[in-house]
Amino acid sequence: MLVTEKNSLTEEIEELCKEHGNVRSALLPILQAVQKKHKYVSDFAQQEIARMLDIHPVEVYSVVSFYSFLHSEPKGRNIIRLCRTIVCDISGKELVENAISRELGIKFGETTKDKKVTLEYTNCLGMCDQGPAMMINDQIYTQLNPEKAVKILKEIK
């Protein structure tokens, strides 16, 4: 990481601490904001957050590693999460899964070489009445079929 990058990240985290407060209960909103912007919370970011909230960096890491929407490793610019819970599963999840995988040339759990997309599974999205469903970043797409899913992929920047 370049020094300039580090400095700008520190400034960003300082801003977030101003917004949410330098308290432990602000940890999750701060992590979520960093995750949203950078698609992961780097070791350096974790250390800076720990320093500003006056807690041990391991405390921050333990929280990052607990929540499935927070990552400590770099991910693609877009994260696609396909629901794999039973109702989506029996409504044709596998066809959608295979179509997406084929189209992007990667398996679930992997990131495309150009860092555009990371594929992941997720548990119930609360869209069981409109399955199969998937989440791209913070948006939800429902009633998928292979054709529709691939069309949505094309719109991703």
Partner: protein, 404 residues
Amino acid sequence: MTIKIKKTQRQGAVLFSEYKRGEGIKQALKLGRENILFELKTSKLKGRGGAGFPTSTKWMLTAAAKAEEKFLVCNADEGEPGTFKDRVLITEYPELVFDGMVIGGYTIGAKKGIVYLRGEYEYMLGELLTYLEQMREDNLLGEKILGKDFNFDIEIRLGSGAYVCGEETALIESLEGNRGEARNRPPYPVNTGFNGRPTSVNNVETLAAVPHILIKGGEWFATHGTDKSSGSKLFSISGDCEKPGVYELPWGIKIKDIIKLVGAKDTKAVQVGGASGICVPESQFDRTLGYEDIATGGSIMIFNKDRDMIHILKNFMEFFVEESCGQCTPCRIGNVKLLEGVEMIENNKYTFGYINELKELGKTMQVASKCGLGQSSPNPFISILDNFTDEVFNTKRNGANNGK
């Protein structure tokens, strides 16, 4: 193509009956704290998350606790597989949920309400913040609400994809910036909750019922449903049926009536209460939903004769292995062992002796796990293996058989 928030015309006896924003708050301020608690007690409203704790008792305990500050938390971490009623309530009936929160805050003496919205529902956040801003403009939130000496505001906090955070003490841990690991109880959140302060954690649906109760009366509410299960319930119905969706139905309804209502054909099994619920075979379809028989948070998943019960069970157990917070041993190890058992059955590499031992392990988990996750995760394992013995052990699978 993305989900947009739109209001659909729904009809129902209680929750989906007519209500104007702010009415309930006005009525609450007129009634006063004691009368609100009295109406709630008369209504016999129970917590709608699934556990069914009487709401009047919870609020009474929080109101009685002495502290500098108190909190009211709306549990919108709807993660149970097959549940989506809170999604409908929050997006289509925010007036009920938020008015319920204001009334709750007034009753227990809290100045701050927190909505813990699951990370998966982040797409709603923008519209909800706008809605709260409108409430502030109309003096339904903020300082001196409706001219009375009562200050209350609502903050929305997002979850980050952890099912266990729907458990109230895990939710509080998460709000405090910790891993979502359940706490030992007692002390209960009504005494020692968020930041060590008295906190009432209520389900979205519970809060949504409160404004109706204040306007139409506790007695009116109690006329719906049955004696032990008053009012109505929102059921999230999905799976093999023609008309999946959220239905408001009276407690005490039979499973077979639900099947008919949503146009399900060739139904083999109905999973009531989500992954942590129980699987009901055809022979028991005249059982009723309510605290007298099968209590539930409202998830109904319907499976027809083509479905493989072992595949379904495996999906549930994989879910629990992934979502267990890992804090207590019965849940962390137990769920892995149960999943291994399901895989043994799948590959025909089991012995009945071992499977029976696993059922015993499941019963141990039900009593020894620290929170509701581990206490209920063996439910599908035990109920599917008990109720579908023929299909699972005696014949070829892939839905060739109807179960018991």
